[in-house]
């Protein structure tokens, strides 16, 4: 296995973001991308789940951890996962962190709040 360059045997950790049109959607998206760049989790395409792309669904099923970041109380990221049959995923809700839709400009400070909260859900 020493030359194995694939991801066999390693269950990945994924984060999906609502990536909605509002400020909180952008904050969610930016936080997910930054978490992914930091290597803590890998950002996963929520649209692929919503679109029922078989490879995306099976890839998400194979994940060790799945975090949904919801920008507003509508909870679209979480609902998309639930509609696709996923349960037991972690949820980060920006409104519970004091970030309200239309009142939370995209700033590094706000992105950091979300990253900090999401990081609490990442184990191992």
């Amino acid at each position: 296995m020493s030359n194995c360059s694939c991801s066999c045997g390693t269950a990945p950790k994924y984060v999906v973001s609502c990536s909605g049109a509002a400020d909180v959607g952008e904050v969610s998206d930016r936080a997910a991308r930054e978490l992914s760049r930091q290597g803590k989790v890998k950002m996963f395409c929520l649209a692929g789940i919503g679109g029922r792309i078989s490879g995306m669904l099976k890839s998400a099923e194979a994940a060790d951890l799945l975090i949904a970041i919801d920008g507003c109380p509508l909870g679209c990221a979480s609902k998309t996962l639930e509609e696709a049959g996923f349960s037991g995923f972690e949820q980060v809700e920006l409104h519970t962190l004091g970030l309200k839709k239309g009142e939370s400009p995209v700033s590094q400070e706000h992105i950091n709040i979300v990253i900090e909260e999401a990081t609490k859900h990442i184990t191992g």
């Binding site: 194995c4 694939c6 991801s7 066999c8 996963f44 692929g48 490879g55 099976k58 890839s59």
Partner: protein, 76 residues
């Protein structure tokens, strides 16, 4: 029927390919088993980890080698 076995060629990927081929032989069906090792092509399926198996374009499993029994179920 077209069956694509995705993976770069590690033992688990080889196990997936072996089990698929054995299942196809046992089922007695006509199927083309193709090994896919190019990461761009694997990514085009939306597959993020390997091994993975797709039957006629639909991904059936990701991240583990399916057993022969699993594959036989999919072939039905």
């Amino acid at each position: 029927m077209k069956i694509q076995v995705m993976g770069p060629g590690c033992p688990k990927c080889a196990e997936a390919e072996k089990n698929v081929k054995e299942a196809v032989a046992e089922a007695g069906i006509e199927a083309e088993v193709i090994k896919v090792s190019d990461f761009q092509e694997i990514a085009s399926f939306g597959v993020f980890s390997t091994p993975a198996v797709a039957i006629d374009g639909e991904v059936k499993v990701v991240g583990k080698a399916p057993s022969k029994k699993d594959v036989l179920k999919w072939l039905k």
